[in-house]
């Protein structure tokens, strides 16, 4: 069977669901970040698969490049915030960081 568009879409759908599960279930802030990276990569696979099978449209590649740029910026800032949380609380469990809760 020829490898077509739906094969790549299936991989991206499974990867997206795994990332979503990780984001929701984990307490560790860095684990949440890793789940987020999985979701972003699933979106990127979709972009590039549609670009390839829709007539080698280069716009899909451009969108994927901007997603990668935003992921890099987001990872840097998020890890800086995580380091700050660790300095103040001595842990990074995001559901215990609730000092502003009334």
């Amino acid at each position: 069977m020829e490898i077509g568009l739906t094969h790549y879409l299936f991989i991206s759908a499974i990867l997206f669901s795994l990332g979503l599960y990780g984001i929701i279930t984990r307490k560790h802030a860095i684990m949440v970040l890793m789940g987020l990276e999985l979701v972003l990569n699933a979106a990127n696979i979709n972009f590039i698969a549609f670009a390839r099978f829709g007539g080698m449209n280069i716009e899909g590649h451009i969108a994927a490049i901007f997603v990668i740029i935003l992921a890099a910026a987001e990872a840097a800032v998020a890890l800086a915030i995580v380091l700050n949380i660790y300095q103040n609380f001595r842990h990074v469990n995001i559901d215990e960081v609730d000092n502003l809760k009334g």
Partner: protein
């Protein structure tokens, strides 16, 4: 089975299996290193999709940059000697609910993806995408390109400012 099919199933299995290890592993260092193989499998899928520039970018930025940042973050925020290396999860009921929810989402996505008739167009073999990407970035997408460079500068300065010792 030709070589492309075998390569697709190899990289696809690599991506999915190690993606599952990332999510389900109890040890956060295992998760971080499994993420490496997931990113590598995705880079292989990009190569199969004729996206040579994106594959190199994936390896350089994700594996060389973001993954190193994440491993640094793990090492700086967990006490290696304590029990804190383990990453806790929620109770049984919440885990089951989330599992059912994400499975439903996955099945819905799979049904939608397989039942839709997508617009497909045959293309001749592509040599390289680098020229096209460069042309597009410096003509149609110049404003977004410059905005991305400003964003990266602001993110670097902001991250260094937030993370420094008081």
């Amino acid at each position: 089975m030709d070589l492309v099919t075998i390569a697709f199933y190899f990289f696809g299995a690599l991506t999915i299996i190690f993606g599952a290890v990332v999510v389900f592993s109890k040890n956060i260092m295992y998760s971080a290193f499994s993420l490496l193989f997931t990113f590598f499998g995705i880079a292989g899928l990009y190569v199969l999709l004729n996206a040579d520039f994106l594959a190199i970018t994936q390896i350089m930025i994700y594996i060389g940059g973001i993954l190193v940042l994440i491993i640094f973050g793990v090492m700086l925020t967990t006490r290696i000697t304590g029990v804190d290396v383990k990453s806790g999860t929620m109770g049984k009921f919440q885990l089951a609910t989330t599992g059912i929810l994400t499975t439903v989402i996955a099945i819905t996505l799979l049904i939608v993806f397989s039942s839709t008739k997508w617009y497909l167009k045959e293309v001749p073999a592509v040599e390289s995408t680098v020229n096209d990407i460069g042309n597009k970035l410096l003509t149609n997408y110049l404003l977004a390109f410059e905005a991305a460079s400003m964003l990266l500068l602001i993110a670097i300065v902001g991250a260094a400012f937030i993370a420094r010792k008081k």
